[in-house]
Amino acid sequence: MSTTDPRTENFPLAAESREAVEGALREQRPLTPTERVIAGVEAYTPEEAAERTLANEMLADTRPGVRQPLLINLGPNHPSTHGVLRLIVELDGEVVKEVTPVIGYLHTGIEKQCENKTWWQAITLVTRMDYLAPFANITAYTMSVEKLLGIEVPTRAEWIRVLLGEMNRLASHLVWLGTSGLELGAMSVFFYCYRERDQLLDLFEMVSGERMNHRYFQVGGCAQDLPPGFIERVRAFTDEMPKRIDEYEALLTGNPIWKDRMKGVGVLPAGDLLALGVTGPTLRAAGVPYDLRKVAPYSGYEHFEFDVPTSTEGDSFARYLVRVQEMRESLRIIRQVIDGMPEGRVIADDRKVVLPPREELAYSMEALIHHFKLVSEGFMVPAGEAYAPIESPRGEMGCYVVSDGGPKPHRVHMRDPSFVNLQATAPLCKGNYLADLIAIVATLDPVMGGVDR
């Protein structure tokens, strides 16, 4: 419970700084490194700041040539931190000495809320975690529940999941490319990327009725079949898109400013990244070809031909190249899916889990009963636990569910790649310039909705 101290009333960071100290005092333990940084950051009321400045000046070593480290607070509402990421940075001149990410500003307790919803209601919540990759969230969740149920997903549904998953990867990488360009002053890339992303969102709207946070996949398959004309529009898009990617590359890949700001910046060896649990394009840019679509194919990925782009440099530029290459590979997969899309059901035929077709309710009493039971009580999932990992645009997205045999999950946990990858911020940024910190965080591509959940 936040204290209503009149001195800090309009200074939330000052209040937080105080809480860090008071919490440790209450528990009679020394401050942890993160708490010490939060407490020490210059987030004071004006009076306190004046006092501290005076005290620091008295203590400071003012001999010529002696430099004091500078502690600055970036965020939580900094325009360049992709949402509400707060970075407390210790600087020596312009060089970053230490970075402490402070997260949790977007924490909404989704995992707790899931425990109080039925299994199918929780789908709506999990899509809202990583808001740039809703189809990835929902695939991980439904796959883990399907594992526990032992339900077979029809091939067509799996292919639709691959199709939308890859389109989602494109949309997510486009947002990343646009905003990263913006970070380094490449304004036009942002407009181009968002133009193409908008086309993708139109397609998502066509299929699910929503531009973001789609609730299209269900346990057992997909909510509906693809609408008429959808495949043709996707085909037109895939014909157009390679030229667009060439355009982005023409603007950036050979651009001397882009290269200067990206090459050799933010390098960490693959071993260190792996020890930190970093996955996705960041790990592949350091030379580890770990892609769950290849290593442990799920949802029918073994049927498609594609390469896993890697690089050995491990710097910001390599991460950029890997992501752009991944966009081309995604297009390759999309083309194979729409060319070979199998016919058949889009959702499993299991009336204990799957809603009956709407039109049957008009004449079948049994369908009505099933519908009523599923909507009011939900379906039961056999007791046990399951973990379903998939390759989201940012890395390994896993969903861990525990069931006690009832209609509600006992525990839902998302292993979000943004959360784990963000731990690499400090080792990646140490020794670089402050201006590069912004670019490095951008190439890690964290989505705070997924980090804080």
Binding site: M1, S2, G104, K112, A275, V288, E385, R411
Partner: protein, 157 residues
């Protein structure tokens, strides 16, 4: 006994309590005092479980051990996976931190501490991560109230 359990037993005999495969996933339950040795054995062993995917916990108020930790390990070469589990204890839940094996466990364990109140011995930076520092209680415990109580932050409106 599976290869994975054999690997753990070879390094720390008596660490494995049980093992079973359910829905195609291998779960190995280990004694909580041995969790670090078991993790290190699997990371360095021939199975090459180099990646710690996830550390999380689930609360079972009726069980004697109450907090069941789950460590998801993966091999980046073969894609094979194993789940280690250990019960952290009901009254003063505490388990050794695996940050010495994988530094990436840092935030995952902080999240478990924040949400469940399980303490991690030897963790370098054990404080709240998702909730505010002065939050009271651990929200993902099953007995955490979810309605009827005063909404936190009402004083901030």
């Amino acid at each position: 006994m599976s290869d994975v359990s054999a690997q753990i037993e070879a390094v720390t005999p008596g660490a494995v309590v049980a093992e079973f495969t359910h829905v195609g996933e291998l779960t190995v339950e280990v004694r909580k005092e041995r969790i670090v040795e078991a993790c290190r054995a699997l990371r360095d062993g021939p199975g090459q479980f180099a990646l710690l995917s996830d550390v999380t916990c689930a609360d079972f108020p009726d069980e004697p051990g109450r907090f069941r930790m789950a460590y998801h390990l993966a091999s980046i070469q073969t894609g094979s996976r194993v789940r280690l589990r250990a019960w952290a204890g009901a009254l003063e839940p505490e388990i050794e931190s695996v940050t010495s094996v994988w530094p990436g466990a840092n935030w995952m364990e902080r999240e478990v501490y924040d949400q469940f109140g399980v303490r991690f011995a030897g963790h370098p930076d054990l404080c709240r991560i998702l909730n505010p520092l002065d939050w009271s209680g651990h929200p993902l415990r099953r007995d955490y109230p979810i309605g009827g109580e005063e909404v936190q932050f009402t004083d901030a409106v």
